[in-house]
Structure formats: structure tokens, C-alpha cells
């Protein structure tokens, strides 16, 4: 029974988001990420929002599921990640949950 694997983009594509175009609720200091070799965020973020492009961490807050995994898995989170929930009403809107 072959179940076609879905990509993270396809999975996030079924979700409903109200993206806040003005304010990024999570900010990442990519300069500091250079010194991090394990980069656990690239595996642990369920939405796969932390990727490596041209040897640098690339992060997009738009598909964030607001779990908080990056905030705790990052070995240097205090300095690297500024983490907040999106402004009221913005962000992911679970229709099932």
C-alpha cells in the first residue's frame, strides 16, 4: 500500500494562516548561527522553517505552527532567537486541533 510522502510545503499548504506581514514574531540572529555546527533547529522545527541556504541559516516565520520547539532546542536561544507569539489574531488558525 503505497502512501505518497508529502513534503512539508504540501503539509503546511493544507493549514490556514493569517500571516502578519508587518511584524515577524520570531527573529533569528543568523550571524550567531554561523558558529553553531549541530543546527538542531533544522531537524526539530516541525514546520521545517529553518533551512540551510548557501551555508547560512534561512528562516521564514510565515508557516510557523507556534509550538516553541526552536526556542528550546537552540543551544544558544537566549541570544539567537527572539521568540513571541504572533500579534493577536495572526498566525496559524487550527480548524481541527
Amino acid at each position: 500500500m503505497a502512501v505518497a510522502k508529502m513534503s512539508v510545503e504540501q503539509l503546511l499548504g493544507v493549514d490556514k494562516f493569517l500571516v502578519d506581514d508587518d511584524v515577524a514574531h520570531i527573529k533569528v540572529d543568523k550571524e550567531l548561527c554561523r558558529a553553531c555546527s549541530p543546527k538542531p533547529c533544522t531537524y526539530a522545527c516541525p514546520a521545517g522553517l529553518y533551512t540551510i541556504k548557501d551555508g547560512e541559516i534561512s528562516f521564514d516565520y510565515a508557516g510557523c505552527l507556534e509550538c516553541g520547539t526552536c526556542r528550546v532546542v537552540c543551544p544558544n536561544a537566549d541570544k539567537v532567537i527572539t521568540w513571541a507569539y504572533p500579534r493577536g489574531g495572526f498566525g496559524v488558525q487550527f480548524r481541527y486541533g
Binding site: 500500500m1 493544507v14 481541527y96
Partner: protein, 431 residues
């Protein structure tokens, strides 16, 4: 009371917050229930099942009106490893009758219902508001700030979930570590109701709950879960976040490989993924309990780390609801004595201890230590599945009695007898 001051501001319209709001509003207190989502439940997800006892005490027969999915009548625990799987299953038709034992449910709908109960009872519900900071007066919490707005109350209840920004900002909770939480990721897979009944051997409205342990997490500490809803399946993984950080495998690859496992694929065949969600789960029990109360503030639900994972039983919502009830009781007592200081709110701990919340967390306080054992996620599933496979195999070779097979298998497994005896003893004593 003045018009601009509430008795209680409750931050977070999840099960803890809405229960507290419902009970306080019913008593006639001025209650403001604040939710950051566009509606209660819009930011919430869980595996899929609520044990019914806690809510049934507060709203007897709640299932008559609440949007629940299926009463669970079948429990399944499955060990999986390398294409082999071994399951233990239990069916109890008694669970299909009132007072139901547990229900699968979907949080967007359910949490909205519970918040509406609080609203009907007289609480004021304000959505689309993300609380930024607690407000203080003489060192006591007296309200909250959200953007430009400041709102005041005798007491603030932080029921804002596992990340509990509010309790952290108020200095009641420290930031937890990755080892103390798990990352849960889930897909809702839609299927026709009768198809779900056929696939899981369920009659009528009955539901199934299945937990998986073994190579579905590739030795990352955690497991899989499956809950049947009316017309969908909740399927996902729970992965200890510290272990996940070291795993070098993306969550999305783990969950998609899990779906392709021969144990899962036939169950979801033809289904449509309707949602993908994720959440942190507090898993360290009393090891991560914040300060539960301070001058003018209480912490309830996930924000207080009130979750219990025994491996075969996972509880969160019943703890959230009962802690919301205890918080309401503490506010009521503080209101009567007119003392919302730390001393006046200290009754919260007593109420939590008298209810099952702190009692059960205390009784199972060593469960997190047990579930941190790596053998549970590798060696044991491998041992159980390969032994079971061998017991069922007929291939014309020399007859060996069960004892001989088990002993031979054990010798080859590389597991130590003291490990098995020690883990087994801890398992029966601590879980």
C-alpha cells in the same frame, strides 16, 4: 466593585482557563477571559483524547452537548521494529456507556464550546488579544498589558499554555529545558466514518486509541499515537525535544515515514490530510512545576506543567480542567477573605492536592525518569517484536519449547538480565 476592574483576568481560553472562567462567572464574579487566537481553540492542539472524569464533575453529562468525537472503547499499544510489530489490545464495552471513560475530540471545536459555556455563565471573552506583560503595583500582579491596553483585576490566572510567557515574565516559571518537553506533531486525516469503523473493528460511535513505540521514532525518545475521530484520524508523533535535537532527522520525514509504515499505511489509505499541527508538551511532571501562585497570580494547566505521560496513558486535559477548577476555588476563597496576596492564594496548592492533580503527579513523580530510558525506544521494541515473530514462526527446524526460545532470544539480544529486571521493577512500581 468599580467598572474597570475585574475579579479575575484569565489569560488563555483553553480547558484550564475556560473552566476557571466558567466556575467564577457562575458564582457571579466579574471575569475577563483573554484569548490570543481569533477564537478559542484556534491555537490549540493535542494528541486526541480527554479522560472524561474531570469535566463530568463540573458539567455532569457534558457529552450530551459538547462536541466530542468518539468514546474510546479500544486501547492498543504497539511495539514496532524493522517491519515487525506486536500489539497489546484491550476492549471494554463499558467505556462506551455513560459515564464515558474517555473521548477523542478536536480542540478547535471543543475549546470554543467550553469558552462559550464560560461566556454563557457571564464571563467576558476577548479574542485576538495577545497579552504582553503582567502589570504590578507594590510588587503584586494587578493586571495585564496587551499592546496599548491595560486591564486590571484582583487576580490574574496564567493559563496560557506550555510556553507560558506570562508566568515566565512574572518570574513564577523558569524557562524549561529541551529535555523537559516533547514536540508533538500531528496530522488530521479524513476518512468516511464507516470506513474508520471497519478498519479499527469499531461498532457504532465507538473509538480507538493506539500508541506506538519503537523504530517509528528512530530511537528518538518518544512514540507515535493514533486516535479515531468521527470522520478523521488524528495521527502523529511525540518526540522528546532534546532527543529530537540530536536525532538528525526532520520531524516531517519521521511523520511521513510513520505514515508509510505497514502498520499504519492500510489504516489511512485513501485518506486526505486536512491539517498539520504541532505543539510542545510539558513532560517533566513535578520536575518542571513553576511557582504555582504569587501575589495576585495563579498558574494553571500546561503553563503549570500539569501533564502526565506514563507511556501507556497520556493525560493533560483532565489535569488542565481540574487545575482550572482549583484556581477558581482559590479565587473564590481569596475573594471571601479579601486577601489576594500570596498567602491568600496559597489555598490553590491545597485544592490541587485535594483534587487528583498534585496527588497523581506526586504518585507518578518518577515516570519521567522511567520514560527517559533509551532501552524503551530501541532494545525493548526490537526484543519484543522479534521474540513474538519467532514464537509464531514455523519453518521445519528443531522443536524448541517456549522457555528455550525466550532464553535463546534473550541471550542473543545483548540485553542484560539486571537491566530487564531493574527496568521491569521500576515499570511496575513507578508507572
Amino acid at each position: 466593585m468599580s467598572d474597570d476592574r475585574f475579579t479575575a483576568i484569565i489569560v488563555g481560553a483553553g480547558p484550564a482557563g475556560s473552566t476557571a472562567a466558567y466556575l467564577l462567572a457562575k458564582e457571579g464574579y466579574e471575569v475577563l477571559l483573554i484569548e490570543k487566537g481569533s477564537a478559542p481553540g484556534a491555537k490549540n492542539m493535542f494528541g486526541g483524547r480527554m479522560y472524561a472524569h474531570a469535566l463530568n464533575r463540573i458539567i455532569p453529562g457534558f457529552w450530551e452537548e459538547a462536541p466530542v468525537e468518539r468514546p474510546v472503547v479500544r486501547e492498543i499499544i504497539t511495539f514496532m521494529d524493522g517491519g515487525r510489530s506486536t500489539s497489546v489490545t484491550c476492549r471494554d464495552q463499558g467505556w462506551a456507556e455513560p459515564p464515558y471513560h474517555s473521548f477523542t475530540l478536536l480542540r478547535a471545536e471543543f475549546d470554543a464550546w467550553l469558552a462559550a459555556k464560560a461566556e454563557d455563565a457571564g464571563a467576558m471573552l476577548a479574542c485576538n488579544i495577545c497579552v504582553d506583560d503582567p502589570l504590578y503595583e507594590n510588587g503584586k500582579v494587578v493586571g495585564i498589558r496587551a499592546g496599548e491596553d491595560e486591564m486590571f483585576a484582583d487576580v490574574v490566572i496564567a493559563a496560557d499554555g506550555v510556553n507560558s510567557i506570562l508566568a515566565q515574565k512574572a518570574g513564577l516559571a523558569a524557562m524549561f529545558s529541551a529535555g523537559q518537553v516533547a514536540t508533538g506533531a500531528k496530522q488530521i486525516i479524513e476518512l468516511p466514518a464507516e470506513e474508520i469503523g471497519h478498519r479499527f473493528g469499531l461498532e457504532g460511535e465507538g473509538g480507538a486509541a493506539q500508541l506506538f513505540v519503537g523504530d517509528c521514532t528512530r530511537r528518538i525518545h518518544g512514540g507515535g499515537f493514533l486516535y479515531t475521530n468521527k470522520r478523521s484520524i488524528s495521527l502523529g508523533l511525540v518526540l522528546n525535544t532534546a532527543s529530537l535535537g540530536k536525532g538528525q532527522i526532520r520531524v516531517v520525514d519521521l511523520i511521513e515515514d510513520f505514515k508509510a509504515n505497514p502498520e499504519i499505511a492500510p489504516l489511512i489509505d485513501g485518506g486526505t490530510v486536512a491539517e498539520y499541527s504541532a505543539h510542545l508538551i510539558p513532560e517533566a511532571g513535578l520536575g518542571m512545576t513553576p511557582q504555582l501562585f504569587s501575589d495576585g497570580m495563579l498558574v494553571a494547566g500546561d503553563a503549570a506543567g500539569f501533564v502526565l505521560n506514563l507511556g501507556y496513558i497520556v493525560r493533560g486535559m483532565d489535569f488542565a480542567i481540574a487545575s482550572g477548577e482549583a484556581a477558581a476555588g482559590a479565587v473564590k476563597a481569596a475573594r471571601q477573605s479579601g486577601d489576594f496576596s500570596k498567602a491568600g492564594l496559597a489555598v490553590y496548592r491545597k485544592l490541587l492536592s485535594e483534587s487528583f492533580v498534585l496527588r497523581d503527579l506526586e504518585a507518578y513523580r518518577r515516570a519521567p525518569e522511567f520514560t527517559a530510558n533509551p532501552r524503551l525506544y530501541g532494545a525493548y521494541p526490537e526484543f519484543v517484536t522479534s521474540l513474538a515473530s519467532r514464537l509464531f514462526t514455523v519453518d521445519g527446524s528443531q522443536p524448541v519449547h517456549v522457555l528455550g526460545k525466550v532464553w535463546d532470544h534473550f541471550r542473543k539480544s545483548g540485553l542484560g538480565l539486571t537491566d530487564i529486571a531493574g527496568d521491569g521493577w521500576k515499570g511496575v512500581k513507578w508507572l
